[in-house]
C-alpha cells in the first residue's frame, strides 16, 4: 500500500468519523453570533464565521454528515437495484433482457447529472428527493456492469450444476453469481461513492439539493461565493474538504482496482460535475 493510499484511507476515516460522531459533539451549526459575521479563521475561531455569524467549523462537520448520508444511501440503493436488475436480465435473457437493455440505453442517453438535476429540481428540495434523483440516475452503471459480468458467468459449470440440482433463480444469483461478480462491483461502488459526493454537492450548489439552514458542502460554497471578496474562507474551506474526500475516494478506488485486478474504465465516465 503506497503512502498516498494510506493518506487517502486516513482522510476517509476522518470524514466518516466526523460524520458519525456528530450527534455526540456539542456543536452549534445554526447559532448566530452577529458580532462575528464573516470573521476570518484565527484566534478562538477555528475556521472563522459565515455571512450570518455561524461557525464554519461546525457547519463543515454537519456537511460531512450530509454528504456521507446521501452518498452512502445513493450507492446502497443504486448499487443493489442495478446489480439485481442487471444480473437477473443476463441470467433470464430473452424479453426481460431486451427490455432492460433498452431502458439502460435510454438512461445512458442523459449525460451525467442532467437527469438528476431535472428530477431533483421538479420533485422539489429535500434529502430524500436528492437520494431518489441520484439513485434513479446511478443504477444504470451497476446494471450494465452486473449484466456483462453475469453474461460471462451464467454458463459456467458450477451454475449449470446448481441448475441441474434444481436451485431457484434467486438462490443461484445470490450464491453462485454475485460472489464472483463482487470485485468489479465494489470498485464501481467506490467510484460511485466519489461521484455521489460530488453530485450531492453539485445539486446543493445549484440550490436544488439540501435546503437552508441545513448544511452541505455544496450549499456552503453557494452561499459563500457571494462574499468571496471579503471572506474567501467561506468558499475555500468547504471546497477543500469536498475535494479531499473525493480525491481520497478516487485514490482508494484506484488502489482497489489494482488489487482486485479489475479491468474497468469506471473512472473515465465518472466525473459528473
Amino acid at each position: 500500500m503506497s503512502a498516498a493510499t494510506r493518506a487517502a484511507l486516513a482522510a476517509l476515516a476522518v470524514w466518516v468519523g466526523a460524520a458519525l460522531a456528530l450527534p455526540m459533539l456539542s456543536l452549534a451549526p445554526d447559532t448566530v453570533d452577529l458580532a462575528r459575521i464573516l470573521e476570518a479563521p484565527g484566534h478562538g475561531s477555528w475556521l472563522g464565521f459565515d455571512e450570518v455569524g455561524r461557525p464554519v467549523a461546525d457547519r463543515l462537520i454537519v456537511g460531512a454528515r450530509t454528504s456521507l448520508l446521501v452518498a452512502a444511501a445513493v450507492v446502497a440503493v443504486a448499487g443493489s437495484l442495478g446489480t439485481v436488475m442487471g444480473a437477473l436480465a443476463a441470467y433470464l435473457g430473452g424479453g426481460v433482457d431486451r427490455v432492460l437493455t433498452a431502458a439502460i440505453d435510454v438512461f445512458m442517453a442523459f449525460p451525467g447529472l442532467l437527469l438528476a438535476i431535472a428530477l431533483a429540481g421538479l420533485m422539489g428540495p429535500g434529502l430524500d428527493n436528492l437520494v431518489i434523483a441520484l439513485a434513479a440516475v446511478g443504477w444504470v452503471g451497476y446494471a450494465r456492469l452486473a449484466r456483462a459480468q453475469a453474461l460471462s458467468l451464467r454458463r459456467r459449470e458450477h451454475v449449470l450444476a446448481a441448475q441441474a440440482l434444481g436451485a431457484g433463480t434467486l438462490r443461484i444469483l445470490r450464491l453462485h453469481l454475485l460472489p464472483l461478480m463482487a470485485g468489479p462491483l465494489i470498485v464501481e461502488a467506490t467510484f460511485g461513492l466519489a461521484g455521489a459526493v460530488l453530485a450531492e454537492a453539485g445539486l446543493s450548489f445549484l440550490g436544488i439539493g439540501v435546503q437552508p439552514p441545513a448544511a452541505s458542502w455544496g450549499s456552503m460554497v453557494r452561499e459563500g461565493v457571494r462574499y468571496m471578496l471579503v471572506a474567501p474562507h467561506l468558499v475555500i474551506v468547504p471546497g477543500l474538504a469536498l475535494s479531499a474526500v473525493v480525491l481520497a475516494t478516487n485514490l482508494v478506488g484506484d488502489w482497489l482496482r489494482d488489487r482486485l485486478d479489475v479491468r474497468s474504465p469506471a473512472v473515465t465516465g465518472r466525473r459528473t460535475t
Partner: protein, 308 residues
C-alpha cells in the same frame, strides 16, 4: 463503412431519442402534488389553471398526454414558456451559441492539456514526471467545477485583474469558464491517453520503427499516437456528456448565458416546458455526438464494423 452498419446505428440512435422524449414527457407526472398549482401559485384563477392543465396535457390520462407530446415534438414544437410566454425553441436558440462556444473552448483546453500530459506520462512511465502528471490528473478529476471556478475568479479576476469576473463579453470572459469546464475532461483524456499509449508503445510495429532508426518523435507521433488515439476517441464521445451537463454548473458559476443557466432558471421558476426543452436538447445532442463517435470509430478501425 457498409451502409447496413450505418443504417443500423442511425436507427438505434433514433430509437433512443424517442425513448428519451418519452421519459422527459413523463417527468412532469413525478412532480409531487399538483404541478399546475406549483407553477401558477395558489392565487391563480380557475380558468388559467384549466388552460395550463390542458396545454400540458394533464387533463388526459398519462399515455394520451405522452402521445400528444411526442406528436408535437415530431413537429419540432417545444411549447411555450410559462414565465415569458415565448416559444421554448426561441429561448433555446437565443442561448445555444453561448453554450456551443463554451463547449468548444473547453474541448480545446482539454486537448491542449491532455495530449502533452498523456504523452509525457507514458514516455516516462514509473518516473517522477509520470507520477506528477497522473497526480495532477487525479486532482483534476476530484476538484468540483463549482469550486474551481470561484478559485480561478479569485486568482485571475480579483487578485491579478486579468479577466472579467463573470458574464459573456469578449474573448477574455471565455477563458475562465473554458478552463473550469475543460479541466475534468483533460484529466480523463490524459489518463486514457497514457494507458492507451503504453499499450501501443509495446507493439511490434513500434519496435520495428525504432529498429529502422526512426527518431523518437517520429515513433511516438506517427506510429504510436495514431493507434493510441482510437480508444481515446470513444472516451471523447462519453465525455461530451460530462461536458454538456458540466456546462449547467459552470454556466451558473460564471453567469454565462447558455442552455445550462437557462435550465437552472427554468427549474427555479418551475417553468416545465423550458426544463423539458433543455433536457431534450442536451440529451439529443449527446446521443448525436455518441453516434458520430461510433461511426468515426468504425471508419477508423475496420474491426469494429465486423463485430458491431
Amino acid at each position: 463503412m457498409s451502409s447496413a452498419f450505418l443504417v443500423r446505428r442511425l436507427a438505434a440512435a433514433l430509437a433512443i431519442v424517442v425513448g428519451v422524449a418519452l421519459l422527459t414527457s413523463l417527468l412532469i407526472r413525478l412532480v409531487p402534488g399538483d404541478p399546475v398549482e406549483l407553477m401558477l401559485g395558489e392565487s391563480a384563477a380557475a380558468g388559467d389553471r384549466a388552460a395550463l392543465r390542458a396545454s400540458l396535457g394533464l387533463d388526459r390520462p398519462a399515455p394520451e398526454q405522452v402521445l400528444a407530446q411526442l406528436d408535437r415534438l415530431a413537429r419540432l414544437d417545444l411549447g411555450e414558456s410559462l414565465y415569458s410566454r415565448r416559444p421554448v425553441s426561441a429561448l433555446i436558440a437565443e442561448r445555444l451559441p453561448a453554450t456551443v462556444e463554451l463547449a468548444l473552448a473547453a474541448l480545446a483546453v482539454a486537448a491542449a492539456v491532455a495530449v502533452p500530459l498523456g504523452i509525457l506520462a507514458a514516455r516516462r512511465r514509473g518516473g517522477l514526471a509520470d507520477g506528477a502528471a497522473m497526480g495532477l490528473a487525479l486532482l483534476g478529476l476530484s476538484v468540483p467545477s463549482f469550486w474551481l471556478g470561484p478559485l480561478l475568479i479569485l486568482l485571475f479576476s480579483v487578485v491579478l485583474g486579468w479577466t472579467p469576473v463573470s458574464g459573456r463579453e469578449g474573448l477574455a470572459s471565455l477563458v475562465l469558464p473554458a478552463l473550469t469546464l475543460g479541466t475534468g475532461m483533460a484529466a480523463v483524456l490524459a489518463r486514457m491517453l497514457r494507458s492507451s499509449l503504453l499499450e501501443t508503445l509495446s507493439e511490434d510495429y513500434v519496435r520495428t520503427a525504432r529498429a529502422k532508426g526512426l527518431g523518437e518523435a517520429a515513433v511516438v507521433w506517427r506510429h504510436a499516437l495514431r493507434n493510441a488515439a482510437l480508444p481515446v476517441v470513444t472516451v471523447f464521445g462519453m465525455q461530451a456528456g460530462a461536458l454538456l451537463s458540466g456546462a449547467v454548473i459552470t454556466e451558473t458559476v460564471f453567469a454565462w448565458p447558455g442552455i445550462g443557466s437557462l435550465l437552472v432558471e427554468a427549474i427555479q421558476r418551475r417553468d416545465f416546458p423550458v426544463v423539458q426543452g433543455c433536457v431534450l436538447l442536451i440529451s439529443t445532442t449527446y446521443v448525436a455526438v455518441n453516434t458520430l463517435t461510433d461511426l468515426a470509430y468504425a471508419w477508423l478501425d475496420p474491426r469494429v464494423r465486423a463485430t458491431a
